[in-house]
């Protein structure tokens, strides 16, 4: 097997092996280090000597040995050594809940979202620290420090290493979904750095969300999040020009959308909506499905998009949702109605000076026939954004409306 093929295999297997070890030895930090060491050994040996018949068993055995070696050399833990060493590794371990167990550990509430994201990518995604650091454009040392601190924090918190039950489980699942959503967004809204690595991140988020969905197919929010990601990911090729400029939704070449992903996402979105309770991911997926359903931007069922945003606004009030609803309202009732709804957001400190508010207002002013006001808002929006592609797009819109 070649190097890259071995890498793919390891990325798939290391989280499973980590899950087995954490389950058996009930500690995260040591197990994580041991699995990384075993994976490193495999990455060196397998391309040269061939992949063993049972690669997962090989990794489990090597990682267990490393862990026990480490514990053995650790004088303070000598007492635990005998018990651990005596525990014979079972031949086959069911991997039913391992992904979830690991995700729940990595999304521990004592960690910041940035640490949860990094740890999830390493422990569950099987990415190396260097890969994660590159994706987030920080030095490897910075990412290594963050990951090691996150592991220490989990240890210090005295985590139970069991899947929580009932309400605690639902709450933690909410954090897990949010972290997966953040990973996806980090990859999707690439503002700088290597485009390639960023889309890897989006793909990784899709892969992890698929894994959660496989274990919790009945959870409508999990289904909704997966649908939302697939429907958004399907548009990736059409979102930018060859030179990296942003193409807004209404100008995208819809034949460039990934049909297979859209069909899968649409089916999932429909399944999610049929669930017992409505959640924000389901509704966002339904909105994305409505956009995907239209053959052209003009044929978009804006009334339905508006209705969905209205429900979303009710169950998860958020100025950004109101902002998006204003866009839909402008399509159904005209730009003046959209602007009137935007005016209700003016006093909201969460959106004050936000480039999205400025750029939506610019678009609506342009459609209303106020080029001077539109140009001014496009310029202000361009100055307010931290994304280069977005800035180029907004500056171009301003320029189209005339000289300074």
């Amino acid at each position: 097997m070649t190097g890259p093929a071995v890498e793919d295999l390891l990325r798939e297997l290391t989280p499973q092996v980590l899950g087995v070890l954490v389950r058996r030895y009930r500690q995260f930090e040591g197990c994580e280090d041991a699995v990384q060491e075993a994976a490193l050994a495999a990455a060196v040996q397998w391309p040269a000597e061939g992949v063993p018949d049972n690669p997962r068993g090989w990794l489990t055995t090597v990682a267990s040995r490393r862990l026990i070696d480490r514990l053995r050399s650790d004088h303070a833990r000598r007492a635990r050594e005998a018990a651990l060493a005596a525990e014979a590794p079972p031949q086959e371990v069911p991997d039913t809940d391992d992904t979830l167990l690991l995700l729940f550990l990595c999304c521990h509430p004592t960690l910041t979202a940035a640490s949860q994201t990094a740890l999830t990518l390493r422990a569950v995604g099987g990415l190396t620290t260097a890969e994660i650091a590159r994706a987030f454009l920080v030095p490897e040392a910075t990412m290594a420090a963050r990951i090691s601190r996150a592991k220490q924090r989990i240890r210090a918190s005295g985590s139970s290493f069991d899947l929580p039950g009932g309400a605690a489980r639902a709450e933690r699942l909410g954090v897990v979904l949010h972290v997966l959503y953040l990973i996806f967004n980090e990859g999707y809204t690439a503002s700088s750095g290597s485009e390639l690595l960023r889309s890897d991140l989006a793909r990784e988020a899709v892969r992890l969300t698929r894994a959660v969905h496989a274990q919790l197919p009945e959870d409508s929010e999990v289904t909704g999040l997966l649908a939302l990601m697939l429907l958004t990911h399907a548009r990736r090729e059409a979102r930018t020009t060859a030179t990296g400029d942003l193409v807004p939704l209404d100008q995208q070449d819809r034949t460039g959308w990934d049909r297979a992903l859209i069909d899968e996402g649409t089916a999932l979105a429909a399944a999610a909506l049929a669930g017992p309770a409505l959640g924000p991911y389901q509704l966002q997926a339904a909105i994305a499905a409505t956009h995907a359903d239209a053959a052209t931007a003009e044929q978009t069922d804006w009334a339905q998009v508006h209705a969905l945003y209205l429900v979303l606004e009710r169950i998860a009030p958020n100025p950004m949702v109101t902002l998006n609803r204003a866009v839909a309202l402008a399509e159904t009732e005209g730009p003046a109605s959209g602007l009137a709804l935007l005016a209700t957001l003016d006093g909201d400190p969460r959106l004050a000076g936000h480039h999205r508010l400025l750029s939506v207002r610019a678009h609506l002013l342009e459609r209303l026939g106020d080029p001077v006001g539109a140009r001014d808002h496009y310029r202000r929006a361009a100055r307010a954004t931290a994304g280069l592609a977005e800035q180029r797009y907004l500056d171009a819109r301003a320029r189209r409306l005339g000289p300074r």
Partner: protein, 123 residues
């Protein structure tokens, strides 16, 4: 999210500090750097020499001229910076507030988000 926390110094204010105050400033930065490194939020920090050591470079009609002194005639000059990668703007502001300079009258600490990055990441 990456932020540049820049420290704007006034050489006259720096000169007026007592030795104890200068030592406290150095110790404060040391502790801050250690903590930031541990938390994984520090990307890099650099301190700049006094603005009196600055050179201003201009190219006019293809000819390069180098003159002494800072470009801006100001009381405050860029003294150094921290490049951090932290959760959000609130955290960056909180970090900036812990830099000892922030507590000294006449020195300024400014926070701005990074828009574009390039160069080796192990800087």
């Amino acid at each position: 999210m990456k932020f540049l926390i820049s420290m704007h110094i006034n050489p006259a204010v720096m000169d007026a500090l007592t030795d104890e105050e200068k030592t406290a400033l150095g110790v404060g930065h040391g502790a801050f750097i250690e903590e930031l490194t541990k938390s994984g939020e520090l990307i890099v920090t650099q301190a700049l020499v006094d603005p009196s050591q600055a050179a201003v470079v201009t190219v006019r009609d293809g000819r390069t001229a180098v003159t002494d002194g800072p470009f801006l005639e100001a009381k405050e000059y860029l003294g150094g910076f921290y490049l951090v990668d932290c959760e959000d703007r609130d955290r960056a502001v909180e970090l900036a507030g812990r830099i000892p300079d922030a507590a000294i009258e006449g020195l300024g600490v400014e926070v701005r988000q990074v828009m574009f990055s390039a160069g080796p990441l192990d800087a």
